[in-house]
Amino acid sequence: MAILFALLIGVLTAIGVYLSLRAQTFPVVMGLTLLSYAVNLFLFGTGRLASNAAAVIEPHATYTDPLPQALVLTAIVIAFAMTAFVIVLALKTRAELGSDHVDGAADQPAPPTAAHKNTSC
């Protein structure tokens, strides 16, 4: 299970890094979201993986570390708010700059046509 878990985090991080290096805002937002998923799983894993264990401390019982779960909860809330914010901002820049390129319409001398916009990401 540990190897599968580690691979999953690795793949998510790799995809997240690749997407957030793209030049359009939509893949960048997707990449940031995937990165936050990866880090949430990673935080969860820092309490070690255990199945059928309670998150409540009882003496001498098998229990799973509850603190990482609290950390993940905090991280999820923050990442959720940030994602919502960055989506709104991406839409705003898309409307104001007339392009979904992260640097604005720098590489498009002529106003883009509707067809071009649809294929650009």
Binding site: T46, G47, P68, L71, A81, M82, K92, V102
Partner: protein
């Protein structure tokens, strides 16, 4: 004085922010009154903290009375106190400039965001817990996103997008680093982490070092060190002047975190030999490169606000060199320069705002003479002298102290060459800017389409007071150099004294017994 007063600098802005959101329909005058009262109380409170010598030994306030490794503690020492004081001063200056120029009327919720920003900053400076530091970073960042975009405009949105995306990447890396530290050491309290690192088995050094470098990357993004500084010039030059002035403390948050986290965890008194001061060589090297790139930026900038933004970057480079040398002398000089550069860049952003409002942003363009040109020109000259590091202002003393301390470093030749040459080049660039801004005037009226868009001048006198305020504080620093330097020497000694910090946080003089929780079995180091 009761320790719960330590909570005031954090909770006062929070409650003000909530109140400001609730009472927004009642108009801007009430919002200004609430925000101004909050900032004034904050300033009085932190001045009192500093003057009463509260931080001479680290004061620990356990939130909800949960003792140190289990609950979140707030630690107030001299460094925290200094940062709180700088934040409150900048907040006051920025607030005065905002109400003088009606900047807060350009969009909703300016004052609420402003208070939320102070909430995040003060919390980050007081917390003694790594995860809590992350949370306060997020609070101050999300408030700064709102402030940065305040007023709107396409250029501001574009710069804002870059700023936000790189900071979201930084937050993700921060979480990876915190998770790795917790996974290895089983604690998140700074003092407890330092203690656990000193007892960690050698097999975990690799993971701890990796986490330390991840944290370095995060704090380097916040501090805008090479190669992660590219977001800074755009963000600082596109945002509104009072916001940029408040943001002068934001790069210092990254440097503060480097000093606090790395200074405590990888200290030569407690950390194992292999982990001592891992990042210091990188700090010195990246500081040098940052300073060089910033100097090029100052020389190449064609608009004034971008030039000031590169001056912020130059100060980050110089400070990173000082922190990288990491002796008591270097830290003392660094902290002196730190206060100087925070106040001066904030004031310079406000001055640039004044000049841009009446003259336009392009340095090289010929313009009709601006109103108050004599006042603006005199202030410009003093700010330029201070920031380039010429005597008799504080930039000179700060750089001198750092350079004296640099003699102890093996890199002293490149440090001397870079710092001195960059100062010369900055003098040249700023002299050229001043020349173009104030002497290249055209008395013929401009054609209407070229004239700067008419902006409401607001309360002109108050805005000039706000511009001159940081400068007068810097003059005070010159006069009070000796007592200030002695105070800063004690501060840097306190920063480096990790054993005392651990003792204060983990074993404060408390009467209640510490509950005897056993750590989770996964985090008990194997006996190997």
């Amino acid at each position: 004085m009761a320790l719960p007063w330590l909570a005031l600098p954090v909770f006062l802005p929070l409650f003000s922010a909530i109140l400001l959101i609730a009472l927004r329909p009642l108009g801007i005058t009430l919002a200004r009154a609430i925000s101004g009262t909050s900032v004034s109380i904050l300033l009085i409170c932190v001045v009192y903290f500093t003057a009463s010598g509260l931080g001479d030994t680290a004061q620990v306030y356990p939130m909800g009375n949960w003792p140190a490794p289990f609950g979140i503690v707030w630690v107030y020492d001299r460094l925290s106190g200094l940062m709180l004081l700088l934040t409150a001063l900048l907040a006051m200056v920025s607030f005065l400039y905002t109400i003088a120029t009606d900047e807060d009327k350009k969009g909703a919720h300016f004052h609420a965001l402003f208070q939320a920003q102070l909430f995040g900053l003060n919390g980050a400076f007081l917390t003694g817990d790594v995860f809590n530091l992350f949370v306060f970073f997020e609070v101050l960042l999300i408030a700064s996103y709102g402030l940065m975009l305040h007023g709107g405009g396409a250029a501001r949105s574009r710069a804002g997008l870059h700023y936000i995306v790189i900071n979201l990447m930084g937050s993700t890396i921060f979480l990876f680093a915190v998770g790795a530290l917790y996974g290895v050491l089983g604690t998140l309290n700074l003092a407890d982490l330092a203690l656990k690192i000193s007892q960690a088995p050698a097999s975990t050094y690799g993971l701890i070092a990796a986490a330390s470098f991840l944290l370095f990357v995060v704090f380097a993004i916040k501090a805008a060190a090479f190669p992660l500084y590219l977001w800074l010039p755009g963000t600082y030059s596109e945002t509104a002047a009072p916001v940029a002035a408040l943001f002068a403390i934001m790069t210092k948050v990254g440097l503060y975190a480097l000093l606090r986290v790395h200074g405590t965890l990888f200290n030569e008194h407690t950390a194992p030999f292999d982990l001592i001061n891992l990042i210091d060589p990188w700090m010195r090297l990246l500081g040098l490169v940052t300073l060089i790139m910033a100097t090029f930026g100052v020389m190449a900038a064609i608009n004034l606000r971008r030039q000031v933004a590169y001056l912020v970057l130059a100060s980050v480079g110089t400070l990173m060199i000082a922190l990288g040398i990491n002796t008591t002398d270097a830290l003392t000089g660094g902290l002196y320069y730190w206060i100087h550069t925070t106040l001066m860049t904030a004031g310079f952003f406000l001055l640039a705002g004044q000049i841009v409002r009446t003259r336009g942003d392009q340095i090289g363009q010929t313009r009709p003479p601006m109103p108050h040109a004599l006042l603006a020109g005199s202030l410009f000259m003093m700010y330029a002298i201070g920031l380039a590091g010429l005597p008799p202002l504080t930039g000179f003393f700060g750089k001198t102290m750092i350079l004296f301390a640099a003699l102890a470093s093996p890199l002293w030749v490149p440090i001397y060459a870079t710092v001195l040459l960059s100062s010369v080049l900055m003098v040249v660039a700023l002299a050229r800017s001043g020349n173009a801004l104030f002497y290249r005037v055209d008395h013929a009226p401009l054609p209407t389409e070229l004239a700067p868009s008419p902006m409401p001048l607001g309360n002109s006198k108050l805005s000039w007071v706000a511009v001159a305020l940081p400068l007068s504080l810097v003059f005070l620093m010159v006069i009070a150099s000796k007592p200030l330097t002695q105070w800063l020497t004690l501060t840097s000694a306190q920063i480096q004294d990790t054993p005392r910090y651990i003792q204060r946080v983990l074993h404060p003089s408390r009467t209640e017994p510490v509950p005897n929780f056993a750590p989770h079995p996964a985090h008990v180091p194997e006996a190997s």
